[in-house]
């Protein structure tokens, strides 16, 4: 066993760290305060190659592998979680499905700009009535000659309404369920500017103020039949491997935020004096710092483990779910303790910990809630291969 990074991975981590400290961090507080999408930072990340990191050179990627992407994502998220989620959603939800299932024509039309960060592509799965239960999808796409006609709504979609946003991959019913069977669900590409595709106003959010999150509405939105992504009726199964990668990426983002919490708490504990000594001298503070560092180390190792499996093309389902579950809960716990160590100052927006505290909760929800991750893990343990529906319908096998 060897936990050493390759020279290229180490160099990418170092570059991402320098970029995060020098470019991403200085704008974080201001963009958060103004709820302003940091378009210049995104463009600069694009020019440096962040968006192409995990994708093969054959389709125009950087070819650095999935682990290198996770390393870069942790560094960027440490400086600003809103920039982290912008990168994560663009890569894991926007580009990855296109890179995996796109036809050569779809890829050559979209990937060059997406991989260079000149444009962003969104992924629309969540709906007002369907989130964790993707089978509850209401959005429909009906075939009409050489086109699909889409009607429905999507909720909480990242990167759909920025100046760089080029379109969205959405999931829709393309057929009704047979007797007791699941509905036929397919994925379709909709480019911005298509008649009947409406991007709603940005949500007011608890955190991630500088990231772009909006509802989408489709009203008799017609796209060519060639905009089908992957197999018709392929449903979510075909995207599961892609979504697994997204889960590990959210875990990496969480580790970045958790590390930022520890760094801030360490700095404050050394400087803040009470009872004539720095509060770092108090064992209760020391215990908090030690626990944070230990949990972060464990979460990071889980991210690397799941990431290495994905990079090797091996089954990673349960490890991805475990990494996402653990890292996101660790990050929330670290933010909580970081604010506690800061005392009253941690409740004031002048220091970054207040932002970290607001930004961190969503990691336990987005791309599969902690509850769903636990169901996925249980499904693996109980012999249902990670399928939540199978777990719920069949229950644990009799022994």
């Amino acid at each position: 066993m060897d936990f050493e990074l390759s020279p290229e991975q180490a160099a990418i981590q170092k570059t991402a760290r320098a970029f995060a400290d020098e470019v991403v961090a200085p704008q974080a507080a201001g963009s958060d305060l103004r709820s302003e999408f940091p378009i210049e930072v995104v463009r600069q990340m694009g020019r440096l190659g962040f968006f192409g990191l995990p994708f093969p050179e054959a389709i125009g990627g950087v070819g650095a592998g999935f682990l290198a992407y996770l390393l870069a994502l942790e560094e960027v998220s440490r400086a600003d979680a809103a920039v982290g989620i912008t990168l994560e959603a663009a890569v894991s939800l926007g580009i990855a499905p296109l890179a995996t299932f796109g036809t050569p024509d779809q890829q050559s039309r979209l990937l060059p700009d997406l991989l260079a960060g000149r444009a962003l592509w969104a992924f629309g799965l969540t709906e007002p009535e369907a989130g964790s239960d993707a089978g509850g999808t209401r959005t429909r796409a009906a075939r009409d000659g050489d086109a699909w006609v889409i009607n429905g709504e999507k909720s909480f979609i990242t990167n759909a309404g920025t100046e760089l946003s080029r379109g969205v991959t959405l999931t829709a019913r393309t057929g009704e369920p047979g007797a007791g069977g699941p509905p036929r669900i397919s994925a379709l590409l909709v480019e911005r500017g298509t008649s009947g595709y409406e991007v709603g106003p940005p949500y007011r959010k608890l955190g991630w103020h500088a990231s772009d999150t909006r509802p989408l509405v489709f009203h008799d939105c017609r796209v060519p039949a060639s905009n089908l992504l992957g197999a018709e009726g392929g449903g979510f199964r075909q995207f599961l491997s892609v979504l697994e990668g997204g889960r590990v990426a959210i875990a990496a983002l969480s580790v970045g935020v958790a590390q930022a919490c520890l760094d801030a708490a360490l700095g404050h504990a050394r400087e803040r004096r009470q009872f004539g000594r720095p509060i770092a001298r108090f064992q209760m503070v020391q215990a908090k710092l030690a626990d944070m560092a230990t949990q972060i180390e464990l979460a990071r190792l889980m991210v690397w483990r799941a990431g290495a499996l994905i990079e090797a093309g091996r089954p990673a389902g349960r490890f991805a779910a475990m990494a996402k579950l653990h890292a996101s809960e660790v990050a929330t716990a670290c933010a909580n303790q970081a604010v506690q160590i800061h005392g009253g100052a941690g409740f004031i927006e002048d220091l970054p910990v207040a932002r970290l505290y607001r930004d961190v909760k969503i990691n336990e929800i987005g791309e599969g809630t902690s509850e769903v991750q636990r169901l996925v893990i249980a499904s693996h343990l109980l012999g249902h291969g990670g399928s939540v529906t199978a777990l719920l319908e069949e229950g644990p096998p009799a022994r």
Binding site: P7, E8, A11, T15, R47, G49, V62, G63
Partner: protein
Amino acid sequence: MNVVVCVKQIPDPGGAGRLDPTTLALVRDGVEVVLDPGDEVGVEAALQIAEATGGEVTVVSMGPERGIDAIRKALAMGAHRAVLVSDPRLAGSDALATSRVLAAAIGRTGCELVVAGTESTDGYTGTVPSAIAELLDWPALTFATAITVEGPVVRIQRQTEVGHDIVEAPLPVVVTVTGGANEPRYPSLRGIMAARSKPVARPSLEELGIDPATVGGEGAQQRVLAATPAAERAAGEIVADDGGGARRIVDYLATLKVI
């Protein structure tokens, strides 16, 4: 125009440097090492000249094999190829021996313009670029804050107390750049991957025509006899403002001749 840039891998200047008590040399093992920040400015300057004139950049370095990391960073920033002269017999070489080796390696590239930082951030002798120029019998334009190449003439700006000098010399020429001359680019992530397959030549001392007796600790013509820690910086004086605070600060600055 094709350009050579000299680089060096050094212990991270952000860390606490340590001297080996017996050799009095900087400890380079077991510490974080980086491409000398001054050399990053040199690489950026070389890349800008090459880009503006349609040429390529060759990185030249002398040092232990692990100096390859610094070379890779320069290649990731966009340099095209590298020469690393690495030989155990070179350990302990002084500035003159280093200059001889680098000059020989540069001579083989066929380039007519050499860019280097004014001095390394670890040894600080500041003599290597000028020694290279002397050994090649080329002019040296030193302490450049800006460089332009117009046909066969290289022109630099050099900051002075009252403004700046403009100095020029015909090719071939050695130019040293100061720390603030430009803002070094980040290596692109694609560049980091591409650096793996860029050629790195490793000529031997024999191939460079260097007599092993003239390099290394044995061949060194300078020897460090003693090292004394720098004096601790004294605590500053706090001026409490009792109405005449501004006056006292002005008087103090006047004694320093800064106003």
